[in-house]
């Protein structure tokens, strides 16, 4: 009752209410920023609702009321919110009706429903047309909903369909009134616009993600926030089903013949899971109920399943018990697997056991991930993606292990195709959303011979050498090590560094990102990540990584703290400023080290930053200083060389590269850099030789199983450079080999002539 009064009396002195509003607006913005900050690190903001269920439920329950109350006020404030994600053209939105607002809220899966709610409350409702609006709001709702839902996937076109029906309906009375309020609202919009800009991306991503998840947005319109918990358990249930199916397949033949298998309880459970007859709900496994029909068509990411995925979301499961359930389920499954093994009295079939373990692991990890989400250390969406990736990748790894078993052969191919398709989609996703990158997957090489070794042997072998010498391990060994301990951050780190050395930046990035996720306190991993980002030209990434390194560095914590208190950092500072601030910080850290011994790591961090800023001279000095401390670190030699080469001093760079190669002849990156410098110096023959060597090394460090492996292992950049070299040498025949990435041919050609 009070609210309509508020609405109607608002036309006396728009300024005051606005002021009061802006105060509240600020307050709310903090909350909003919380949401946005967390979402801006990765796409969907689904998870945010879990932390504020009350808000969401309130919003939901009062949706109808809210529509009416705030419908009119709707918000010019709200409009920009929605405009932000969709388009910057707010003026068009002014014509649009607030009516769409609540609808949009509902149908956009309540994406920012809670936020919109709070914002509506803080908006000064435009007075005059409120009444008119209320009239229209009822009929408006239905139409809007229908209109909006189909356009949901198209974030961009969102605004226009919303506009077309609305002006039709509301044009007579609304326009003049809208325009009246346009000016005062502008200022609000500016603020919101800024915020929205960052969320635009999230919105788009979110919607895309959302789209893939739900083909029936209308349902989602009804239950916006229940989707948040829904989709995650969705994945879980689906994941379960998939893994169960896989398990059953591997046991496959034996199943029919071996009576024990047929009667096995565990396999029965697996069968049930696969066929979705049973579902993990809360704390136990219960028979599946009715959701199957509702979500029938949901082929979640189309995992090449011949059987469509009938999803049984654990809609009801509150998060906490979900997590416990996950843990308990994983334990149960692990137990069952062990029991089975014992009961059957057979040496556990490695694939099936590993699958069982994989499932266990999946659950445990998911539980761990969810825990960390609750702690809000890790962005929930990152966790979600990472879990997805981890699971897919484990699934795939398990898949690969059985590649040799014949009965999977047939199944593998359509799945492989589907997987490849998925992978490209996934990578496209990564590529287009430049600022927001979900953790990409690390694709392990197939048929890794080290993987079949008994783990104990290899690790003991390593330890026996008095601490790891990871640089001397081959990539395969490291990959195997990682595959054995998926959660071991240092294993991922070693793998990442080795991939860097092997000039495989993308894989290195993935591995290192994984390492820091698993263990954010692993300092060297952050440094290595910074280097990878620099090589990729990703300035922000470099900054973040070094920043993390600085902040987590306990040794210099006091100096760091001193620095940041002395130079407070503005959140919206330009990237250049932040870089210089960070550089300053590092310099102070270096100075503050009382022991007089130069800390090479600081120098390296500093040099990396300077490199990104293209301050090559200083970067070089820093690297050289670090070299003084570590004279046998071939990485450092390469880095000095690279810095020099990038600043144009290719000649001098050469000697550094040579030194690096002396220390480690297998250092592919140094060899490649050498080739590049020779290219720049127009010494094409030499360049070609070096690059070919590098290519050869790359290939030898992988599983060579004929034609298919070659292209995956060698880096395109090398082939491109080789091509350039050969063209300069006036050898188009070599160039054709480069196009085909045919190492054999290229070698022969080059050395025979």
């Amino acid at each position: 009752m009070a609210l309509p009064l508020l609405v109607n009396s608002a036309d006396c002195g728009p300024v005051n209410p606005l002021q009061g509003l802006s105060k509240r607006f600020d307050q709310d913005r903090g909350l909003q920023q919380d949401h946005f900050a967390s979402t801006s690190r990765a796409g969907p903001s689904r998870e945010t609702f879990r932390s504020s269920p009350s808000q969401a439920t309130n919003g939901n329950g009062n949706l109808e009321d809210a529509a009416r109350f705030f419908g009119a006020s709707a918000s010019h404030g709200q409009q920009p919110h929605l405009a932000g994600p969709a388009a910057f053209d707010l003026s068009a939105l002014h014509g649009a009706l607030p009516a769409p607002m609540p609808m949009h809220m509902a149908s956009s899966g309540g994406n920012n429903a809670a936020l919109f709610q709070t914002h509506t409350q803080t908006q000064t409702p435009p007075a005059a047309w409120a009444a008119d609006f209320m009239q229209f709001s009822q009929p408006g709702k239905q139409v809007e909903r229908a209109v909006v839902s189909p356009s949901l996937p198209q974030q961009q076109q969102w605004v226009s369909p919303a506009h077309s029906p609305s002006p039709m309906m509301f044009s007579p009375g609304m326009q003049p009134m809208m325009q009246n309020f346009a000016p005062p609202m502008h200022m609000q919009q500016q603020q919101q616009q800024m915020q929205q800009a960052t969320t635009q991306h999230d919105q788009i991503l979110w919607d895309r993600e959302f789209d893939t998840h739900l083909t029936s947005p209308t349902q989602s319109a009804v239950q916006p926030q229940s989707h948040a918990p829904q989709t995650n358990p969705y994945e879980e249930a689906d994941e379960l089903a998939r893994t169960a199916a896989l398990l059953l397949e591997t046991v496959g033949d034996a199943q029919t013949t071996n009576l024990k298998f047929q009667n096995s309880e565990f396999l029965g459970l697996m069968r049930g899971l696969r066929d979705r007859e049973v579902v993990v709900e809360g704390n136990e496994v219960v028979p599946n109920t009715k959701w199957a029909e509702d979500f029938q068509a949901l082929d979640l990411k189309g995992k090449g399943k011949a059987r469509t995925v009938d999803l049984a979301p654990l809609a009801a499961a509150p998060r906490v018990s979900h997590r416990e359930a996950a843990q308990r389920t994983s334990e149960t499954i692990a137990q069952m697997v062990r029991q089975e093994a014992q009961q059957q009295g057979y040496a556990p079939n490695p694939p099936s056991v590993s699958l069982g373990m994989a499932m266990t692991e999946a659950f445990r990890q998911r539980a761990a991930a969810e825990q960390s989400v609750e702690g809000e250390q890790e962005d929930p969406n990152d966790a979600y993606f990472r879990q997805e990736n981890a699971d897919y990748q484990r699934y795939w790894a398990a898949q690969q292990q059985q590649a040799s078993t014949s009965h999977l052969g047939a199944a593998a191919n359509p799945q492989t195709a589907e997987w490849a398709h998925l992978q490209t989609d996934w990578e496209a996703f990564e590529a287009t959303s430049a600022g927001i990158k979900p953790v990409s997957q690390y694709i392990f090489q197939r048929n890794n011979p080290y993987l079949s070794d008994t783990p104990s042997l290899t690790t003991r072998h390593h330890l026996a050498h008095g601490g790891r010498q990871p640089m001397l391990d081959s990539v395969l060994e490291l990959e195997a090590e990682v595959q054995r301990n998926m959660t071991d951050a240092s294993a991922w780190f070693d793998l990442g560094v080795k991939q860097q050395a092997n000039e495989r930046e993308k894989q290195a990035l993935t591995a290192l990102a994984r390492a820091v996720e698993l263990d954010p306190s692993h300092l060297p991993a952050w440094l290595a990540l910074a280097i990878s980002h620099t090589n990729d030209g990703n300035r922000t990434g470099t900054y973040d990584a070094v920043r993390q390194w600085v902040d987590r560095n306990e040794k210099y914590a006091p100096a760091v703290a001193r620095h940041w208190s002395a130079h407070p950092e503005r959140v919206d500072a330009a990237i250049g400023e932040r870089f210089s601030a960070l550089i300053q910080c590092l310099i102070e850290m270096a100075r503050g080290d009382a022991s007089g011994v130069v800390d090479a790591d600081i120098q390296i961090a500093l040099a990396v930053l300077l490199n990104t800023n293209e301050d090559y001279e200083k970067a070089q000095d820093c690297f050289r200083t670090a070299l003084a401390v570590r004279p046998d670190d071939w990485f450092l030699y390469n880095r000095v060389g690279a810095t020099m080469a990038n600043s144009g001093r290719a000649e001098e760079a050469l000697q550094y590269y040579h030194r690096a190669l002396e220390l480690n002849p297998l250092y592919i990156r140094a060899r490649f850099n050498l080739g590049i410098s020779c290219l720049n110096l127009r010494r094409f023959e030499e360049a070609a030789h070096h690059i070919l060597d590098a290519l050869g090394l790359q290939e030898s460090d992988s599983v060579s199983s004929g034609a298919d492996s070659a292209s995956g292992v060698t880096t395109a950049a090398l082939w491109d450079s080789l091509r350039t070299a050969s063209m300069h040498m006036q050898r188009p025949d070599l160039a054709t080999f480069c196009d085909r990435q045919d190492l054999e041919g290229a070698f022969r050609r080059l050395f025979c002539f």
Partner: protein, 130 residues
């Protein structure tokens, strides 16, 4: 695909092809950054030793590609130089400013943009990795 860029008798052909390849391979983020930084269309009129002329266009405004022939929409700057000069520029031996001062490089149109050519060429060069 890069073969249609080449013009026989020009050393710069390789270069241009190299630049094109480099842009093609560049990660989107980097490319976008480069385009934003440069924001111009360069037309290169290269003359070789035999007094033949070839024209290439580097579009660093919209697409980040290289193609043979004059600029489709109008070029922001036309740079006239010799084959040799271009090669030296690309390898870093010669600096754009210096080339201009010594008269090896002539421009028509937005001169300031010509200074950015250095940056473009450098971006196209294979970078040594840390």
């Amino acid at each position: 695909m890069s073969d249609d860029l080449k013009v026989p008798g020009f050393q710069a052909s390789e270069l241009i092809a190299g630049i094109s390849a480099a842009f093609g391979e560049m990660p989107d983020a980097e490319k976008a950054a480069q385009i934003k930084k440069t924001n111009g269309i360069f037309e290169l009129k290269v003359t070789n030793a035999e007094k033949q002329e070839a024209v290439w266009t580097i579009d660093m405004k919209k697409t980040g590609t290289v193609y043979k022939g004059p600029a489709k929409p109008k070029a922001d700057v036309t740079i006239i130089l010799s084959d040799e000069t271009l090669t030296d520029l690309a390898s870093g031996k010669l600096n754009g400013q210096k080339a201009f001062m010594t008269g090896k490089l002539k421009t028509k149109g937005n001169m300031m943009l010509a200074t950015k050519l250095d940056g473009v060429l450098k971006a196209a060069k294979p970078k040594a990795k840390l």
